[in-house]
């Protein structure tokens, strides 16, 4: 039995790390050791690579990793969504087959939820999975899929019954991405990046064993995956920082980070790069223009207020208080900040806002802000969806009337084309 006091956990983690950490191991070797010891994912069950620690004690272990300089398991990326989903709803076969290689990072995962025809309405998925002989045969089209072209496995939400209401006719599968019926095509954005793929599923196959939870439980399993999505996005940003040290393991992790974060390289520009505003205003001398100074000030008031609101929410959370309304406003506030920042960057650029690439300011970074910020109010839940959530869940206002929840899905009006 593990002793679950903070001191005991700290001592044990510290002892193990000091005995085993060696920056000259390979990344996979080290992660394998973490999996075997349970220190990589200490809040996971003991039988599945963990130590059954309460979540509240995980930061203690993380502190020891940091103190000793050992690389932890990155808590980010789709593969961790897969792990959380498999731990909660998968079979032992799934856990056996997938969890270790999720920890070692040897398998890349992707998420096949969104479709061209459904947008914000994930539960409106129309990709069909039909049992033919002894296999599920899948046909349809998914979109906004990060890393689909590199993925070994996909988390698939597909419709298995058109006669049931929308939320009841969905099931959840793990699909092998390395098969003939799966084609990933890069989806180019207006900012010239292609961070996502469209995935065409044409008679793709899934063995019955790879179904997660019961038939028709797809929506509730998907909800588990989505719950972890925001958290994973946060730690993705944190993960970007590999220590600037020499050693095989650092080189390998830097390489992994680089590959994993490549699709997200424009995200800072999407957020409006408020960090550049004061610098640029001083460089260009625009700070001396009282009109632009007011516009910068308005942006700063918004930006700082949003930042402090997030800190307020975290502080309350750390005190163990129930979540106040301030915790639900971040996404909406950040899309307002991004829009305002793009406006101010345009004022700072003046005529040069017409140029991009190497002719553009800051080697094209400013131009990239100007064609990336619209994503801030769409991706990860549009502003409209955020306001629906805030009004319904935080303010307890009436829900939108549903026109699609109770009737057979086949009778629900939907988009004919993607």
């Amino acid at each position: 039995m593990v002793d679950h006091t903070e001191a005991a956990v700290r001592a044990e983690a510290s002892a193990w790390l000091e005995a085993n950490w060696d920056p000259n191991r390979s990344l996979v070797e080290w992660r394998d050791m973490l999996a075997d010891s349970g220190w990589g994912m200490p809040n996971w069950p003991t039988e599945w690579y963990g130590k059954d620690l309460p979540v509240g004690l995980v930061p203690v272990v993380e502190e020891e990793f940091k103190r000793i300089g050992a690389l932890p398991i990155p808590k980010s990326g789709i593969r961790m969504l897969a792990a959380a989903t498999i731990l909660a709803h998968g079979t032992d076969m799934h856990r056996e087959k997938f969890l270790r290689r999720i920890i070692t990072g040897e398998d890349v995962w992707c998420q096949l939820f969104s479709e061209p025809g459904s947008g914000s309405d994930l539960a409106g998925a129309t990709t069909r999975a039909v049992m033919v002989g002894n296999k599920w045969v899948v046909n349809g089209q998914k979109v906004w899929t990060t890393s689909a072209h590199k993925a070994h496995w996909g988390l698939l939400l597909a419709r298995t019954d058109m006669d049931l209401p929308k939320h009841k006719g969905l099931s959840y599968f793990i699909i092998d991405m390395h098969q003939e019926g799966v084609e990933a095509v890069p989806l180019k954005q207006m900012n010239n990046h292609a961070s996502f793929n469209q995935v065409f599923l044409t008679d793709a196959e899934v063995l019955p064993d790879f179904q997660v939870a019961e038939l028709g439980d797809g929506w509730s399993v998907a909800t588990t995956t989505l719950m972890h999505e925001r958290r994973a996005a946060d730690s993705l940003r944190a993960w970007g920082q590999v220590p600037d040290l020499e050693g095989r393991i650092y080189d390998e992790e830097r390489e992994e980070v680089k590959t994993t974060l490549a699709p997200y390289s424009w995200y800072p520009q999407r957020a409006g790069r408020v960090d550049l505003i004061m610098q640029r205003a001083q460089e260009t001398g625009a700070i001396n223009d009282p009109v632009i100074r007011q516009e910068i000030a308005k942006l700063m008031v918004l930006h700082k207020s949003a930042e402090w609101t997030a800190r307020r929410a975290r502080a309350a959370q750390m005190q163990g208080k129930p979540q106040g309304p301030e915790g639900s406003l971040g996404k909406l506030a950040s899309s307002n900040v991004a829009r305002a920042a793009a406006r101010v960057h345009t004022m700072l650029s003046g005529a040069d806002a017409m140029l991009s690439g190497s002719d553009g300011e800051r080697d094209g970074t400013i131009a990239e802000i100007l064609v990336s910020f619209p994503a801030a109010s769409i991706a990860g839940g549009t502003d409209e969806i955020q306001r629906n959530i805030i009004s319904e869940r935080v303010l307890r206002m009436p829900k939108e009337t549903r026109f699609d929840a109770d009737k057979p899905f086949k009778d629900v009006p939907r988009n004919t084309v993607g």
Partner: protein, 376 residues
């Protein structure tokens, strides 16, 4: 930076909120705002006796409880919420602030305990006919006369100026300008040569006065010619206090409007069920909560001696100015025609929002102060 209220602070707020809901319902606000004075000494003494609000932020050495800006801002947020008609801001924030920052030890001992107990109601007279909130705008002249000084000129927009017992006055040496030559003085409300005229205000719950000084004998407060620094410090704190008062009012308006649309039916359904109403309510929440964060942060920053406090104070005031007024406009709109009537309470807070928007400087002014003082 500390950024969350302690359990004690939360408890204080809860008690205070209930207390003010009980003692300052809108019927009482309406009764008092219709009087020339805007508050009643007996009524205010009774309220103050129970929670000793005037003592909260005055140091223990001068008869107060010695709490920080965060606690004082809780008081102000709740007063702003209840629209309490009382000379709290004038006496405790402005006058006591100036005395604390500028007065000699002897003067603090003499003046502050009575302000802390509520026995003395004081105010600070600094703005003049030009409506400027900064030191450089002061034109009133203080002339040496024997061992003392005499004041001549006018002060405008003095909060509770016609009812205060003690008036702290900012004036300058003849021929001086800018931050130079400024001194603070005290005069009693009934001083000879002082004419006090209550002004007609948009916001009837915030009474202002014009004070005309005809050679009024005044006592120097602190060092002669050294008032610029203490005044600036006083006004920085005042801006933070006002921002907190304002977010309290804004949140009340927001909640009342939400309650109204939740209860009100139109076209056979709750108004709250219309998507545009829902989205407006969400935006209102964001406006108010973001402004609250800035106000809370500023109070905490003051308590922690943050170097950027001048910028942070102005940021909080600018945020509160925009958020309160925007919330007030939305709140009227959500009520529809009813929200435009006298009998509905929305206009009481709407007018406070308008008055607060410009009191101690409007959002443009504070954004400019913020940018010019930003250390980054």
């Amino acid at each position: 930076m500390k950024f969350s209220f302690t359990d004690e602070q939360d408890e204080f707020r809860t008690v205070l909120r209930r207390f003010l809901e009980d003692r300052s319902p809108s019927t009482e606000v309406r009764r008092l705002m219709a009087t020339a004075e805007g508050w009643e000494r007996d009524r205010w003494s009774e309220i103050n006796a129970e929670l000793e609000l005037t003592a909260v932020a005055i140091p223990e050495a001068y008869g107060g409880h010695g709490f920080g800006a965060s606690e004082q801002c809780i008081v102000l947020e709740e007063m702003g919420r209840a629209l309490l008609c009382a000379p709290y801001f004038s006496s405790t924030v402005l006058a006591a602030g100036a005395i604390l920052n500028a007065g000699t030890e002897e003067q603090k001992q003499a003046l502050l305990p009575k302000i802390a107990s509520g026995e003395t109601v004081a105010t600070l007279a600094f703005t003049e006919g030009n409506g400027r909130w900064d030191n450089a705008g002061v034109e009133m002249v203080a002339t040496k006369s024997g061992s003392g000084f005499t004041l001549a000129g006018s002060k405008n927009l003095v909060l509770d100026g016609h009812t205060a017992d003690l008036i702290v006055v900012l004036a300058r040496a003849p021929g001086s300008s800018g931050d130079q030559g400024l001194s603070l003085f005290t005069v009693t409300g009934d001083a000879a040569g002082l004419e006090r005229t209550g002004l007609t205000t948009v916001d009837e719950t915030r009474k202002l006065a014009r004070l005309d000084f005809t050679n009024v004998a005044a006592e120097l407060l602190g060092e002669e010619g050294e008032a610029a620094g203490p005044m600036a410090t006083t006004l920085t704190r005042a801006a933070i206090c006002l921002a907190n008062e304002m977010v309290g009012g804004a949140d009340r308006l927001r909640e009342d409007a939400l309650e109204y649309v939740q209860m009100r039916m139109q076209f056979g359904r709750s108004i709250a069920s219309f998507q545009v109403t829902k989205h407006k309510a969400a935006d209102m929440l964001a406006d108010v909560e973001l402004a609250k964060s800035a106000a809370y942060y500023a109070a905490a920053a003051l308590d922690e001696g943050d170097d950027d406090i001048v910028s942070v104070a102005s940021l909080a005031k600018a945020a509160a100015s925009e958020a309160y007024m925007q919330t007030a406009i939305h709140a009227v709109q959500m009520h529809g025609g009813i929200g435009f009537t006298w009998d509905n309470d929305t206009h009481l807070w709407f007018k406070r929002a308008k008055s607060s928007e410009v009191f101690l400087g409007d959002a443009n002014h504070h954004r400019e102060v913020m940018m010019l003082n930003w250390a980054e």
